[in-house]
């Protein structure tokens, strides 16, 4: 059984259909990336999986459980975390408070300490700034916080929406290196990226999305060599 199985997923925003039947599978331990142009439906796919938008058809199964009828907080409780586009950090709360909020739905408070240590080990900068208001962090630090916060939910699958957006290239490298480390520690990643070059370097497999449909799929290395993909997303 795959960790995440999406079959025939359709989503409508009012009369406009954003997804026309998406099929995708993520196996435990993988890094899978969804690449595609603006408006292809990458973000909508993630929002449907974490149930921020209701699907109008198809199924989403996580570890065998159907997510389509669940409210978002129950999806999180099952082990799916989502780092949203634009990060969604709590600007008026401190770094520490941001991280602690991610344990809202958890019942194992004793392990919170341990998880904080893990986040601070992955992102030493967050440890240094734990008492600082999150809104005063730099863009890169805010992205680290968003990822750290998702880690605090102890999820098995982390959905990441454009973690490289608005960051300097050196910071993008840093974030991607950390994502690889998080994956090695056992978290499965589903990564949405416009920066297809970086995403295909990091991922094991990839899906190319075009106007709400899966266009191509395959191992990341193969996609990076595919002439059509190179032409459209990797600048030739």
């Amino acid at each position: 059984m795959s960790l995440l199985e999406v079959r025939g997923l359709r989503v409508h925003y009012g009369p406009i259909q954003a997804l026309h039947g998406i099929d995708l599978v993520v196996e435990e331990g993988e890094i899978v990336t969804l690449i595609g142009a603006n408006g292809a439906g990458k973000t909508t796919t993630l929002r449907a999986i974490s149930r921020l938008v209701p699907p109008s058809g198809g199924t989403i199964r996580f570890a065998g459980v159907d997510l389509t009828q669940l409210p978002p907080h129950q999806v999180v409780a099952l082990g799916v975390s989502h780092v949203p586009e634009g990060r969604g950090i709590f600007a008026n709360l401190t770094v520490l408070e941001n991280l602690l909020l991610a344990t809202y739905g958890r019942r194992d408070r004793a392990r919170v300490h341990q998880d904080l240590e893990r986040v601070f080990a992955l992102f030493p900068r967050l440890g240094e700034r734990k008492g600082q208001l999150a809104g005063t962090l730099s863009g890169g630090e805010q992205q680290m916080l968003a990822v750290g916060r998702a880690l605090m939910t102890r999820s098995r699958l982390m959905l990441l929406d454009e973690p490289s957006m608005g960051l300097a290239p050196v910071l993008v490298e840093e974030i991607f290196a950390t994502l690889a480390a998080i994956n090695r520690e056992g978290t499965t990643l589903l990564l949405v990226e416009q920066n297809a070059h970086q995403a295909l370097k990091l991922a094991h497999r990839g899906y190319v999305l075009e106007t709400g449909r899966i266009q191509t799929a395959g191992p990341a290395a193969a996609l990076a060599q595919d002439p059509q993909v190179r032409q459209a997303y990797l600048g030739g």
Binding site: S81, F90, L116, G127, R129, K130
Partner: protein
């Protein structure tokens, strides 16, 4: 930090300090009441201050902590006032009324809480301006409903209440309300409240059941406003629908934003300053009513977060919370991190302004 602040912090860090202060306050209120240390007029002002503290703190939960914009808080006050008055006047025997008064207040508060549900449900879907309109409409509906109910006096109002609200009772209910709010805010649900204010979508993505949180917050807020309404009715002994119109709601809003959003200490300060200031300004006659709107305008320009804005006195932060913070501060790399160790206790769950 100054020496006085240090001493305050040290005082409230001791487990026995709070009961001592609260008992002292209650005792003082009782002595004032029993031996007439203050004249009835002064006592009445103090009671208004107390009632306003409850109203302000309860609205602060929704507007300050949760970041909504509810503007019709007088509606809940009206429900509490009418329900508790009807009970003490029509239901209770005259002699027993003083003894049963707390029961009447609680029933009034419960009724207001139920009306609070009417606002909680639309708040699942709407925020900001839309919720403001919903609450404004509720305020008007409640007022018109009372005006059209002849059995409770209609537009002529309702009277016959004994003066059951006394200073010790007000102090008792203020302490209970603030204690309840403090515990709610620093419990798990309260963290959810803050998360909703900051970013509702992100809150959902971290596992916060936003509907449940909103439901609890609105019910608690409305119930406390209802409680304040019941106390108010038994001070003035005469209520009309006009006592609970949009002007009253605006006053509560002014006190919230004057004292500071997201702060219980701010609610206490805002309610006290506003109530006492309006009494001092009585010589201005009708003109004093222009003070509140003017105050609000200047406040928004000069200090939009209010006097305390998102900060809290250490005394209003539960001891367990302070201990937890101290332990977590020691985590990670930078033990020298920000804020400096001595300052940590003063920063609320909302950070410094």
């Amino acid at each position: 930090m100054s020496r006085a602040a240090d001493l305050t912090t040290a005082f409230f860090a001791r487990p026995a300090s709070w009961p001592l202060v609260l008992t002292g306050l209650l005792l003082a209120a009782w002595l004032i009441h029993r031996y007439g240390w203050l004249n009835p007029y002064q006592q009445q002002i103090l009671m208004y201050v107390g009632i306003h503290i409850i109203l302000t703190a309860s609205l602060n939960l929704v507007n300050g902590y949760m970041g909504e914009f509810a503007v019709g808080h007088a509606a809940f006050m009206a429900v509490g006032a009418y329900v508790s008055s009807l009970i003490t006047v029509r239901l209770f025997p005259f002699q027993a009324a003083p003894l049963l008064f707390p029961l009447a207040l609680l029933v009034g508060s419960l009724a207001a809480g139920i009306v609070g549900l009417l606002v909680a449900f639309p708040s699942f879907r709407t925020r900001g301006d839309y919720l403001a309109i919903v609450t404004l409409a509720l305020n008007m509906i409640v007022k018109s409903a009372i005006e059209n109910l002849e059995v409770i006096g209609g537009p002529r109002g309702f009277l016959g209440m004994q003066r059951l609200t006394t200073l010790p009772w007000v102090v008792f209910w203020v302490i209970s309300s603030l204690w309840l709010l403090r515990n709610f805010i620093y419990a798990n649900l309260g963290r959810g409240v803050l998360a909703i204010r900051e970013d509702e979508v992100a809150a959902e993505l971290l596992g916060v059941d936003t509907r449940r949180v909103k439901l609890h917050a609105f019910i608690l807020s409305a119930s406390l406003a209802g409680l304040a309404g019941g106390l108010f009715a038994h001070v003035v002994q005469f209520i009309t629908p006009r006592s609970f119109d949009i002007v009253r709601s605006t006053e509560i809003l002014v006190m919230v934003y004057l004292g500071g959003i997201g702060s219980l200490a701010g609610s206490v300060i805002g309610a006290t300053v506003y109530t006492v200031a309006l009494e001092w300004l009585r010589f201005l006659g009708q003109w004093r009513m222009a003070i509140a709107p003017l105050l609000l305008v200047f406040l928004m320009i000069l200090r939009p977060t209010g006097i305390m804005g998102l900060r809290e006195f250490v005394a209003f932060i539960p001891r367990e919370e302070r201990n937890l913070r101290a332990r977590l501060e020691a985590l990670g790399r930078g033990r020298q991190g920000w804020p400096p160790a001595g300052e940590a206790g003063r920063v609320g769950p909302h950070g410094p302004a």
